[in-house]
């Protein structure tokens, strides 16, 4: 059984509405209503649609729920109307064109006609021109349409009118598009008095993490994507997302991830990182993405049977392998939560000729654990510099011959005398790729008289590709 609630903002009940809650857009209204049900869709231009199946009893019944929504919006300075029905169309029509608050659940067509029949055709949610044209022909009320033969009306006004009518009477089902998917697992905590302090919020999140952990444990799953939603008393909604690189079912680890996320927010905005304002009266923690996670059996006797081994020289003595792996992903997650996932990277070899494309950086949290990424073990260990510049830097080089190795060169305003040199190693671009038309490069491994080692190249074959090849510094050896 489905049940829908339509909210419509009528107008401002208080002149301060714009100041109290600026820009109450349908999306923000939907966010605000998400505290009642996870499935809330913005309903442009002036409302929101809620799927409240199975949620109303939590708020003392449907009428109490509708009254609470209206009261809540009234407090923000908006006149709102909420109405309930079994279809979104009927709820929409009721909220806007009727004084009735709800159509009883499971009402048949006769009951529906009693509620909706007297409403104007505009309640079908058809565009105003069509509604006007219909009323000009004498079809002013929905009742007028129901008994009419359909073909002439469809021929003149299109199929939309009857599609709407079918939806309204429950003959056809139309889904709503929630602003956010309903999370897999969700725990929440309500506060009689809003909480504003960061410590309180983090403490509450830690408690919620405990609840969520128990929920996940019962289902044998772990969370990969988490989201904390903070509902501010004045209607603003704040979301904090956190991701984990392994299925997570550890309350302290979850709490720590959010701690870092809040801290990171505090670094960009020096004042209140949570922007708590009047305080939050509802905190919600949801696992958006979960993966199967079976309980791990700890190594037998790690703590219970074997006497403590005191081997200070062995680093492995205090951690077992699975623990180490957990610490490892925890570290990567924590760094990523604070600094941003794209700033914690692993280097992955790429099959490319040009040195700058031979390696790519991937967010470490998104690496697949099954090791299906290209592996370094198969790579030939070519003599390559340990550091590479973001882009090659131009060098003034003097060579005996235009296509010979350099004798001395000037880089970053310092003149270097070449003492030892190896090269050229000729690297050309991938000619079989259309977009690649880079010049051929001749790479030299150069050591200067002071004992510094460089990796530089000459771009373009002399006389063939370039009349005067230029030199570039690309990297440094140890």
């Amino acid at each position: 059984m489905t049940r829908y609630l339509s909210v419509r903002i009528g107008g401002k009940s208080s002149p301060d509405a714009e100041i109290l809650t600026p820009r109450l857009t349908p999306a923000r209204l939907a966010d605000l209503c998400r505290r009642f049900t996870p499935l809330a869709a913005p309903d442009a231009p002036d409302g929101a649609m809620l799927d409240i199946a199975g949620a109303a009893h939590l708020f003392g019944g449907e009428n109490a729920l509708a009254a609470e929504i209206e009261a809540r919006l009234a407090k923000l300075g908006y006149e709102a109307r909420a109405a309930l029905a079994d279809t979104p169309e009927a709820a929409w029509a009721l909220a806007r064109y009727s004084v009735a608050r709800s159509i009883p659940e499971g009402a048949d067509e006769k009951v529906l006609r009693r509620f909706l029949g007297a409403l104007p055709v505009a309640a079908l949610r058809i565009d105003p021109e069509t509604a006007y044209a219909l009323s000009q022909t004498g079809l002013k009320r929905i009742d007028d349409l129901i008994l009419r033969p359909r073909a002439p009306i469809v021929a003149r006004f299109g199929t939309e009118v009857f599609a709407r009518l079918d939806g309204l009477l429950g003959r056809a089902r139309s889904p709503i598009t929630p602003r956010f998917e309903a999370p897999v697992y969700l725990v929440e905590r309500r506060f009689a008095d809003p909480i504003a302090r960061r410590d309180d919020v983090e403490g509450a999140l830690a408690m919620l993490a405990g609840d969520l952990t128990r929920l996940l444990e019962r289902h044998g799953e772990g969370a990969r994507q988490l989201e904390a939603t903070l509902f501010r008393a004045d209607g603003a909604v704040r979301r904090i997302a956190a991701a984990s690189s392994r299925p997570l079912r550890d309350a302290t680890a979850i709490a720590r991830l959010f701690h870092e996320r809040i801290k990171a927010a505090g670094e960009t905005r020096d004042e209140d990182p949570l922007d708590s304002g009047y305080g939050f009266d509802l905190l919600r923690l949801a696992a958006l993405e979960v993966e199967r996670l079976d309980a791990r059996q700890d190594a037998l006797g790690r703590n219970d049977f074997a006497p403590p081994v005191d081997r200070p020289n062995s680093a492995a003595a205090h951690t077992t392998a699975p623990e180490m792996a957990e610490d490892l992903t925890d570290l990567v997650d924590r760094l990523g939560a604070r600094l941003g996932l794209r700033r914690v990277m692993r280097l992955v070899p790429q099959d490319a000729h040009l040195p700058e494309f031979a390696v790519s950086a991937m967010p470490a949290a998104q690496m697949r654990s099954d090791g299906r990424e290209a592996s370094w073990s198969g790579q030939i260990a070519l003599p390559r510099p340990i550091r590479m510049f973001e882009r090659p830097e131009p060098v003034e080089a003097m060579a005996e011959a235009p296509d010979g190795p350099p004798l001395r060169f000037r880089w970053r305003r310092v003149l270097h005398e070449v003492a030892a040199i190896e090269g050229p190693e000729r690297i050309s671009s991938e000619w079989w790729k259309q977009e690649a038309h880079a010049l051929t490069r001749d790479y030299f491994r150069v050591e200067d008289r002071e004992g510094h080692r460089f990796w530089m190249y000459r771009e373009g074959l002399y006389g063939v590709e370039a009349p005067r090849p230029r030199w570039f510094m690309q990297g440094l050896f140890a």
């Binding site: 670094e267 200070p312 020289n313 680093a315 492995a316 205090h318 951690t319 392998a321 180490m324 610490d327 490892l328 925890d330 570290l331 990567v332 924590r334 760094l335 604070r338 600094l339 700033r343 914690v344 990277m345 692993r346 280097l347 992955v348 070899p349 040195p355 031979a358 390696v359 950086a361 090791g371 592996s375 370094w376 790579q379 260990a381 070519l382 003599p383 390559r384 510099p385 340990i386 550091r387 590479m388 510049f389 973001e390 190795p405 310092v414 003492a419 030892a420 040199i421 491994r445 150069v446 050591e447 008289r449 002071e450 004992g451 510094h452 080692r453 990297g475 440094l476 050896f477 140890a478």
Partner: protein, 254 residues
Amino acid sequence: MSQGGSSERIGFLRAAIARIEAQNPAGALTANAAQGRLCEIAPATSADGAAACGFALSLAIAAAARPGLIVWVMEDYVFHENGAPYGPGLHHHGLPMERFVLVRTEGPRQTLWALEEALKSRACAAAVGELRDGARHFDLPATRRLTLAARAGRSEGLLLHTRPAQGLSTAAQLRFEVSGQPGQVLASAGGRRPIPTYPAWGVRVLKARAADGQYGRPDAERRRDMIWGRPLPQQKGQTGDALSLSADRRQKLA
């Protein structure tokens, strides 16, 4: 001989060896590495940045013999100015790339935080931190925190300065000053310039402190020349370590 007696004696010997090693800064490379420590590496001149980076890398590779990640934390500024660690080059020198994580930060505060998190996480074999204004941000409290974190996580912390470090006052156990040195070369046919081989550095140990707080007496003026890699066949008396030390022997340019 009773079992206990012999192990006691071995313990005594070990302690004695440790004391000698603490006195001899050349042994500083291996001393206390397993308990977790903090080393500083600074270039001798501003041109020796790559040499210092290579030395830090060699220490990180030595630390990678133990399990755990090798985390390299660098600021965006350093990334743009001095380039980034290059994967194939690290792979060439034998760093286990599967365990390598590169972390980029926006500033010194984030760098210090990331380093501390990495060091104390127990998942980390070595963490390298690269800072632009090292002398300013690696002060005594900050480095003391890092030292404690390294000890808690039994990991190797390596602070890499991008400029010559003067007037440093830190809690690091070891401080190295590295300069690039002309390395061994192979003669080239036809009177051309010789071929470079392995990286060579001059390393001065400016500070060496044992884990128990005792100071060794590093001879700060003495420069030790090191080759990174297997010495060439004509060099005798050295085995192929990843990091071999040929103290006070300057390689001549061929």
